[in-house]
Symmetry: C2
Subunit: 244 residues, 2 copies
Amino acid sequence: MAKKPLKALFFDIDDTLYSSTDFAAGARRQAAQAMIRTGLKIDEETLLEELDEIIVEFGSNDDRHFDKLLRRLPKEAIPAGGKLYIIAAGVIAYHQCKFRNFSPYEDALEVLRTLHEKKLILGIISAGKPMKQVEKVLRLNLLPLIDFNRIFITESVGIAKTNPKIYMHACRAVGASPQECGYVGDKPSVDIDVPHRIGMKTFFSRRGTKYQNIPGVAEPDHVIHNFWDLLDIVEKQYEIAHHA
Amino acid sequence: MAKKPLKALFFDIDDTLYSSTDFAAGARRQAAQAMIRTGLKIDEETLLEELDEIIVEFGSNDDRHFDKLLRRLPKEAIPAGGKLYIIAAGVIAYHQCKFRNFSPYEDALEVLRTLHEKKLILGIISAGKPMKQVEKVLRLNLLPLIDFNRIFITESVGIAKTNPKIYMHACRAVGASPQECGYVGDKPSVDIDVPHRIGMKTFFSRRGTKYQNIPGVAEPDHVIHNFWDLLDIVEKQYEIAHHA
């Protein structure tokens, strides 16, 4: 079987390069425990359930989760004068987790390094608020491997991931045709279906569990369970087309 | 000499309970270095000087310092596409310092513990944004010693520290007359002059250097260089009036 040319691979961030699901669950638990230690009178599980509801209702990018949380709890749960302290304790604990527990999947970093050495162009196409996604790129220590001009955040570019134009934009920016580029993501309905429409090679990462059972329309070109699978596929089925 | 009754001592936070001057200088340097590591093409000292100017011009509570900083630098200093990454790197480094280097003066914590054991009421009267000051109280680990109902932040109370009413408000809240209360701070024109006007005992902390040479109108009742001085004065000259 003839090897196909591959110039660039673009990646999703959340639940592809690191486990955002695990990170968020851990950080929310740390925050809940800190709020209880600071005087909030409620049991940890009830607090976490309420917080999960807020995230479903208002999205994970809302920055007033803890504030809303306290307004939703019975008044008796909050000691007089303690509201701000409890919120701040939650915020501090959550941020502390960013310093302690924010890291890429180990194999992701190793394989990105290998692909970088092989001169494959690496990029990111990710949905979210620019500052939040940029912070993740920095905390995951990806800048030595991925040039910031190859990172495309939906709200910066002004195109959502449901629109193939953002993938086209990224391919064009690295001087490659969509057929010479791949996309690696965990959400079939956007990460597979949309880049597939313009002819990109699609890699469905099954490790992030959230969308395991919500298939898209298109069949992914490849299914990977970790980044060693990815490296194996690239090495066996593709020819890295060195850029100028 | 007969000992005077003392029911409560209130404290300023910044440069009284911890060295905000030293902390900020260190955190700004860490931030500048991180921005340079992320691609900003300027030397560290020039960057820090520009940042100092911004803080003088816009105040230390402005939350867009690094954003302003980059807009003030020559365009050539910022690599194409790198602006957000450089700002985020600065913010992350600054925050990291909060986790690593944010601690009270060692003697302050020890003396507060001793005074707390002696049943002296301890409180805080501090200028600033509620969330920022509350965060400091938590990071300095003061809550086990100071009840949050005895912490008065100007923007929460709605009275500035230039108005004696905030000191009166605090004394009343702990059920003491101003004559039975003391205030410990580093800025004579507000921390000494204003509480002095309502008859509180005033302690000028000379350790924070910023206002060393800007005396107020009133003579402080006491001058301290560290918290051991404070403990010594309280033990020798005051009788702690135990509250109910």
